[in-house]
């Protein structure tokens, strides 16, 4: 092995410029591969972040009947009610459903000091925070005691809190303050980070408080719940179908009517996004590998020239008993060494470039007017990619060396020795 390395070193030493130029193309190829994968990760991470909901959760929104049934015409509006929530919490779905948050909402005017603005109050239960991944930056979310005692407390968005607090005051100063919502006073108990993706302003309050204050009775507007044990698309569809039937029966609609409620299944959505993610990643790998290919062709070319130049030497080696395989090994090893060495340089700079991206443009939200979207989150590659890239380099180097090596093995000693 040491002899092989020494011979390789000798040969590389003789053609420094040529080796360096070829090496550059390999380095560039792997650099592009790493940067592409890093940028792709950044985009995908951002995509995942923006869809900030609990994967194992569903949201149910009311719809309209699409079939005449039980004496009613079609297009009858369905309104969710407390029975639908009880059904979901009941025996039939106990196996899968974890926690349910019914939602009631109420639009009103919010006022504090000199500031007033229109807002949407949403009455929710504590699990809602998990399901919609609400990130608190101060205070707390609605808790079980709020629900039980029907406390008048709210959780507001940071930008709303900033407006309410007034000029040159921080959002956190609103914590504990009483604000007027329509005719009632509510205490601000928490401030959450808003991505403004809803455009309007959402303010969260205990479900029971809103139901009582605004006399909602048994009406429910939306139902959110978390679940477990539904792993395949088929299981999810079966579950949805079962629940639809229960709702339809409750509201006197045709049992097989699938338009009465909309079910937004986040798990299915995640599965589809996962599929999209895999496609994007594959596409990036292919692009990167194609870039790398030009480098590989370069290495192959250089090795061909090297073999040509060393024909005489290979002839001598053969005359004194070198097997074709050992000559092939020499060439392939040299090829792998060039590819691996410069590949690692490229990989290093690729990782550095990713870190620079991470430190500069990553995490900055892009303002799209009505909403803000973070385009780039953590655009780096993991250890797995580094390992895969290493394997790619070794395979690529071997491939690059194969044809030249074959040529070296085929050197005819007499012709080679004649070639002075």
């Amino acid at each position: 092995m040491r002899d092989l390395l020494k011979e390789m070193w000798n040969s590389l030493q003789q053609n420094k410029l040529r080796t360096a130029l070829t090496g550059f193309s390999v380095a560039w190829g792997i650099f592009m591969l790493i940067v592409l994968l890093g940028a792709g990760n950044g985009l995908l991470n951002a995509l995942m972040n923006n869809s900030g909901t609990l994967a194992h959760s569903m949201a149910i929104y009311p719809g309209y009947t699409s079939k005449p049934y039980g004496g009613f015409d079609k297009w009858r509006e369905i309104k969710l009610d407390a029975q639908d929530v009880r059904n979901l919490e009941g025996k039939a779905f106990m196996e899968n459903v974890d926690e349910v948050s019914p939602v009631v909402s109420h639009s009103d005017t919010l006022a504090y000091g000199m500031e007033t603005f229109a807002c949407e109050l949403r009455g929710v239960t504590p699990i809602y925070k998990e399901i919609d991944k609400i990130q608190l930056i101060a205070g707390r979310f609605i808790n079980a005691l709020d629900i039980k005692e029907q406390r008048r407390c709210i959780v507001v968005a940071r930008n709303d809190a900033e407006v309410l607090a007034g000029r040159r005051r921080r959002a956190e100063e609103m914590l504990g303050k009483e604000v007027a919502v329509g005719a009632f006073l509510f205490k601000v108990v928490g401030i959450y980070k808003s991505d403004e993706s809803f455009g309007g302003t959402r303010i969260y309050a205990p479900f029971t408080t809103l139901r009582t204050l605004y006399a909602k009775g048994k009406d429910i507007e939306e139902i959110y719940f978390s679940f477990h044990g539904l792993d395949t698309e088929e299981q999810n569809q079966a579950f949805e179908k079962r629940y639809r039937t229960v709702v339809n029966v409750n509201h006197g609609a045709a049992p097989d009517d699938d338009r009465t409620v909309y079910i937004w299944n986040r798990l299915i959505q995640n599965m589809q996004m996962g599929k999209a993610e895999r496609i994007i990643r594959t596409a990036l790998w292919i692009l990167g590998l194609l870039t790398l290919l030009s480098g590989i062709v370069g290495v192959s070319n250089i090795m061909l020239i090297t073999v040509k130049e060393r024909t005489h030497e290979f002839g001598i080696r053969k005359a004194i008993g070198a097997r074709p395989r050992s000559l092939m090994g020499l060439v392939v090893l040299e090829s792998v060494a060039i590819t691996a060495f410069f590949g690692y340089i490229g990989m290093f700079f690729g990782l550095v470039a990713n870190e620079i991206m991470n430190a500069t443009i990553a995490g900055n939200p892009v303002d799209m007017g009505v909403t803000q979207i973070t385009m780039f989150v953590n655009p780096t590659v993991g250890l797995d990619v580094a390992v895969q890239a290493t394997l790619t380099l070794i395979v690529a180097g071997t491939l690059a060396g194969l044809i030249p090596a074959w040529k070296a093995a085929k050197v005819k000693p007499i012709e080679a020795l004649r070639a002075e």
Binding site: R2, D3, N10, S11, Q14, H312, E313, G315, I316, R317, K318, A319, I320, G321, A322, R323, P324, R325, S326, A409, P413, I414, L417, E420
Partner: protein, 239 residues
């Protein structure tokens, strides 16, 4: 040691060229033989066939009891490595390797360990008076020294057959004599079979038997144990 039976060889480079036209030759173990002939007489081709560097079209070549025919590259390589030591006119040392590394190379292909390899190579360099030159590269040595390194490389595997192709072709007359004396010594002391291809009668005269090859066939075989057929002289060595 060597039996050639009706060896034919034709080169097909455009115009077919019938180089060896039925060569029959026997060389016994321990002989010191030269093959002489003019340019194009087929002597180098014959040597290449003897050294398993080239193939022949028809006939039989028996080397130490084995028929050398249709060998795979690996078999040929192993046979060359084990049985035959080559000495070339242009030395054919590898330029980026030191003398001792060059001598080690055949042992490397035999899979001998690094330490043992070095020991054996040094032993042979020492025998050829090149111990102090072991660490030098070929371009730092004189022609005679280079040829002696090449001889050490040919000897290091203790082959039974030494094939020398114009071993003195690039050397001055004095060094030529030295080299031929060295080969003679090896033949006498180690009982090695040595075949020298040359077109110089002076070189041929140093051997015990002179085989003349003319137009692809063996012409005459002269016993030359007295070494008086055509001694080295200024006349024969001026090139």
């Amino acid at each position: 040691m060597i039996q050639l039976r009706d060896i034919n060889k034709t080169y097909n480079n455009g115009q077919p060229l019938h180089v060896l036209k039925g060569v029959n030759l026997d060389i016994d173990r321990g002989e010191f033989v030269s093959i002489m002939g003019a340019s194009g007489s087929g002597k180098s081709t014959l040597l290449n066939i003897l050294g398993i560097l080239d193939s022949y079209d028809t006939g039989e070549y028996w080397l130490d009891g084995t028929l050398v025919r249709d060998l795979s590259e690996n078999q040929a390589a192993a046979l060359r490595n084990r049985m035959i030591g080559f000495i070339f006119q242009s030395y054919n040392l590898i330029g980026f390797k030191t003398a001792v590394e060059n001598v080690e190379l055949p042992l490397f292909y035999q899979g001998v360990s690094r330490k043992k390899r070095n020991l054996m190579a040094m032993e042979y360099l020492d025998r050829l008076g090149l111990r102090d030159w072991a660490g030098h590269y070929p371009n730092e040595m004189s022609g005679g020294q280079k040829q002696r390194v090449a001889i050490a490389r040919a000897l290091v595997t203790r082959p039974q057959l030494i094939l020398a192709d114009e071993p003195t072709g690039a050397l001055d007359s004095r060094t030529s004599v030295e080299i031929m004396d060295l080969l003679g010594e090896l033949n006498r002391e180690e009982k090695m079979t040595i075949i020298v291809v040359t077109h110089e009668s002076g070189v041929a005269n140093a051997t015990d038997k002179i085989i003349h090859i003319r137009d692809g066939v063996i012409g005459s075989i002269d016993e030359n144990t007295a070494h008086r057929s055509s001694p080295f002289s200024a006349a024969t060595l001026i090139k």
